[in-house]
Symmetry: C2
Subunit: 138 residues, 2 copies
Amino acid sequence: MTMEKKIIRFHLQLLLIVFCMLTFNSGNKALAQNKTQYIRIANLVIDTTQLETYKAALKEHAEAAISKEPGVLTLYAVYDKDRPSHVTVFEIYASKEAYNSHIQSPHFLKYKDTVKDMVKSLVLLDVIPIALETKKHN
Amino acid sequence: MTMEKKIIRFHLQLLLIVFCMLTFNSGNKALAQNKTQYIRIANLVIDTTQLETYKAALKEHAEAAISKEPGVLTLYAVYDKDRPSHVTVFEIYASKEAYNSHIQSPHFLKYKDTVKDMVKSLVLLDVIPIALETKKHN
């Protein structure tokens, strides 16, 4: 095989890799909206005097869960602008099993222990998706 | 320039394109959590007799907004499993300006007109992020 042919062959392989990367990306987006997902909204009221400590603990926990657990897909935690002690977490898990595994993880148990005296009320809602639309790399 | 050199040059250009694509992808994730974002939670109660029609209209609207408007980043619309007429939408816009532009878009105006007799109550909450953690391709 000539040098030229070798380069062309390598070139075609590279194009194939790019094509596969693009296909993989679109595949993942579709996967995100499959029917095994378990979605929940947590509504919490936090002790006002411990709000900053609570928010730091929740942020640390969310970062750990998303980076360490393949089945924890989204944790969007926010507080009301007009009532900062009211916190909402929008949670998407790959499945009910992924959620069950999540609540036994070391970072979740650490979070629960840290915040046990900060949370004045907690309401958990199981929800069903109507539309889960997001920009691909949001 | 020989044929071989031309191929090598083209090859290097292709590698540069792949590198740029990868850089662009990681950049977008960081961008998603910047401070100009405008985030809102909409809590709605829908007329039970028109629930299916409402859900179809909301789904169509969310798909249009995400695909047509660069500043509409996330629209996660769900209903309570135990109270199906209670709908929640978690909304992330790139900025307040993106939101202002969104509510003047043809698909939003069409949605509002379609559902005007279906929505029994609507509460809008401005919220501030604590953590917006998501898998990259969720």
